[in-house]
């Protein structure tokens, strides 16, 4: 073996070792700081992990863009949301007075809240954009209470890491990390554009997550579960979206 070839081999070997060690260290750091998304395995795992980690480093405390009231879309688009079941229609016929939001999991005082009870929490509003993964969008005023207040009321335990939320529609469920769950614009939403939240837009109750795409803002929510491990839910990928082939983190 010539001297040059040996030197090249040694350099390549050292570079590869340093690269592998660097990657391993990066992976350990990412895991420690919770920068690996629940769907971070598989062939698209590296891209998802890079996106989620990069955004969480840049935007942990950032605010979704808010617009002046004049920017509210005259023609918001409700999108379609599967057929509503018998249970929904029964509650709708009763004026939603029996609608409950059940909160359980890693909380000191599990409980359930009616719409009237939720409306006694501090009321807030925001004019933000709903952006669909398909490419369309609209701006609306959303009225509700920050999710953080609800989590406070049930005494969320300090080791909690994610909030799982479910729709009354079967198999529709999502989850967010604490950076989004405690973000002040993440609302348990019951009003839109100065009125009650219309059924087409998720009424009577929708979780708005304005720093992520529309599919994370689940309509008709009936339950929240606070957890430190998403593996126990569904197929363990974090939410229904990755089970259907879509990314769990939708801040893009």
């Amino acid at each position: 073996m010539s001297g040059i070839a040996r030197r090249k081999l040694i350099t390549a070997g050292l570079t590869a070792t340093a690269g592998a060690a660097g990657l391993a260290a990066a992976a350990r750091l990412a895991r420690r700081y919770g920068l690996i998304p629940p769907d971070g395995g598989g062939i698209y795992g590296p891209g998802e992990t890079l996106t989620y980690a990069a955004q969480r480093i840049l935007n942990r405390h950032s605010m979704a863009r808010e617009f002046p009231r004049s920017a509210i879309s005259a023609k918001p688009f409700a999108n379609e949301a599967g057929p509503l079941n018998q249970e929904f229609k029964r509650l709708q016929n009763g004026g939603f007075v029996e609608w409950r939001l059940v909160v359980d999991g890693m909380v000191a005082r599990p409980g359930s809240f009616s719409l009237a009870q939720l409306k006694t929490f501090p009321r807030a509003s925001q004019v933000t954009m709903v952006q669909c993964e398909e490419g369309w969008s609209y701006v609306a005023e959303w009225i509700g209470t920050p999710l953080a207040h609800v989590l406070d009321a049930v005494g969320m335990l300090p080791q909690a890491r994610y909030v799982v939320y479910r729709s009354i529609q079967p198999d529709v469920w999502e989850s967010i990390d604490m950076a989004d769950a405690l973000q002040p614009q993440t609302f348990v939403t019951y009003g839109m554009n100065g009125a009650e939240l219309p059924v087409g837009f998720g009424g009577p109750l929708r979780l708005r997550v304005p720093r992520q795409l529309g599919y994370k803002s689940v309509k008709y929510i009936t339950g929240l579960t606070v957890t430190d491990d998403l593996k126990r839910f569904g197929k363990g990928l974090g939410s229904a979206a990755p089970e259907g082939g879509y990314a769990w983190y939708a801040g893009i």
């Binding site: 590296p46 955004q55 863009r65 617009f67 879309s73 398909e134 701006v139 879509y246 801040g251 893009i252």
Partner: protein, 219 residues
């Protein structure tokens, strides 16, 4: 090349789920588009005029689009380091001042249009038109396509709202992203056509090994 094709195909798949472009902040099927493609859509909420809906390919398309974008950004950073580090920028890409007169530009353009074979001196280097085109691609189109892509991400613009504000809104960013893609596709088509005209085998060999085989060039 592989990255570009992956991004192009997945980008088209994503566009098919809403084949309408808007200007400003917002746009949806209830508002007027500035451009509507006469193609069927993969969503039944889009009034495409066709009686059928294409299968939804957005899940894997989005995963692959963003993963490839990361790969391209990493490759782009390595390329940028090489450009500046090895003096490649000055040597091969920045046009010489003398070449920038209209006369010189026109003469090179005329040679191109007459499909003349490059002279021996030209064959081993880039001429002024090539240099200008490559410079526009790497210093304007490439950064712009990354920027407009990021400007569509709600999580990204929450940290950097100016990234979308300067473009005139989120739907404007989407529309610009589309038209830069069109320019890049045009660049690629012309680029590949030129390679074919100049002799596909010798050019590919030259690109990969960095050497030009004179005897091959002549034959």
């Amino acid at each position: 090349m592989l990255c570009f094709l992956a991004l192009l195909v997945t980008g088209i798949e994503i566009l098919i789920s809403h084949p309408r472009l808007y200007w400003g902040e917002t746009g949806n099927v209830l508002t007027a588009p500035i451009l509507s493609f006469p193609i069927p859509s993969s969503r039944d909420t889009v009034p495409s005029g066709y009686g059928y809906v294409l299968p939804d390919q957005n899940g894997w398309s989005r995963y692959l689009h963003f993963q490839t974008a990361w790969a391209l950004i990493i490759i782009g950073m390595v390329y940028a380091m090489y450009l500046f580090g090895a003096g490649h920028l000055r040597k091969s890409l920045l046009p010489a001042r003398a070449d920038l007169s209209w006369r010189a530009l026109l003469s090179v353009a005329a040679n191109h249009l007459r499909l003349e074979r490059p002279s021996a001196a030209e064959a081993s280097s880039y001429n002024v038109l090539q240099r200008l085109t490559y410079l526009i691609v790497i210093s304007i189109l490439f950064p712009l396509i990354v920027w407009t892509g990021l400007a569509m991400a709600p999580g990204f613009v929450s940290a950097f709202p100016w990234a979308v504000g300067w473009l005139g809104g989120q739907q404007s960013a989407r529309t610009i992203h589309f038209f830069i893609t069109v320019s890049l596709v045009l660049f690629l088509l012309v680029h590949v056509a030129m390679i074919c005209l100049a002799g596909f085998r010798t050019r590919m060999r030259a690109m990969i090994t960095g050497r030009i085989d004179r005897s091959m060039e002549e034959s």
